[in-house]
């Protein structure tokens, strides 16, 4: 039972344009959501997070949007840069819980 789903295994975007990565979840107990970025042969690195009390969180070129009613979140990268080419994982956890549930990842390729 995949509680966190990333339905697009890959995405290609032109440099300078907006990249939108999507994530859906089924567990209504999740109240904190994170995006991790992973380069080949490296471990995931934390990118941005959002609590369920918010619907948007921004950090520079990265914005995460949360739609609780649809159980959907998205990561927007504007403008996209070649260094953004990586695999992006969405993750979620319930309140007061250290255990993260990860999605299967989306490989983002930025085309110069």
């Amino acid at each position: 039972d995949q509680q966190v789903k990333q339905n697009s295994p890959s995405l290609s975007v032109q440099e300078g344009r907006i990249s939108i990565l999507n994530c859906d979840y089924t567990n209504s107990m999740f109240d904190y959501f994170l995006w991790y970025k992973k380069y080949p042969a490296e471990g995931p690195t934390f990118l941005i997070s959002i609590s369920s009390i918010k619907d948007k969180n921004e950090d520079g070129r990265f914005t995460v949007f949360l739609n609780k009613s649809a159980k959907h979140l998205s990561l927007h990268i504007v403008p996209s840069q070649p260094g953004d080419s990586a695999v992006y994982f969405c993750a979620a956890r319930p309140p007061g819980n250290e255990k993260l549930t990860f999605g299967t990842g989306t490989r983002l390729t930025i085309i110069p």
């Binding site: 471990g43 934390f46 250290e98 549930t101």
Partner: protein
């Protein structure tokens, strides 16, 4: 400050062999985690620890054992390697229960 380090980077095991994957963090984090990532899949939690002397099972603990004798170290033991344990293993740590998890670079394990 090295963060989370893992050794070895890569290992080939024969079926039935045993090995220990090492994980060390120098951030004085209380929480430590072991994940595995199979091709095309998200990270799945194997075991975690909330402090020295305390460990607990994650989502996929069968075939593995852990110990946490110090704050810094959290080794993962495979007693009887099986082909199904071929995967990339990531160790992570966090200061608190709901704090950001920082990942090591991973250990790629191939069981033949």
């Amino acid at each position: 400050n090295a963060g989370v380090t893992q050794t070895p980077k890569f290992r080939i095991l024969k079926i039935g062999q045993s090995m220990t994957l090492q994980c060390t963090q120098d951030m004085n984090h209380n929480y430590m985690y072991w994940y595995r990532q199979d091709p095309g899949m998200g990270l799945k939690l194997i075991y975690y620890s909330v402090g020295a002397g305390i460990t607990d099972k994650g989502e996929v603990p069968n075939g593995y054992n852990v110990s946490r004798s110090t704050t810094e170290d959290f080794p993962l033991r495979l007693e009887l390697a099986a082909p199904s344990q071929t995967s990339v293993y990531f160790c992570a740590s966090s200061y608190g229960r709901e704090e950001t998890q920082y990942f090591g670079p991973g250990t790629r394990l191939l069981v033949l």
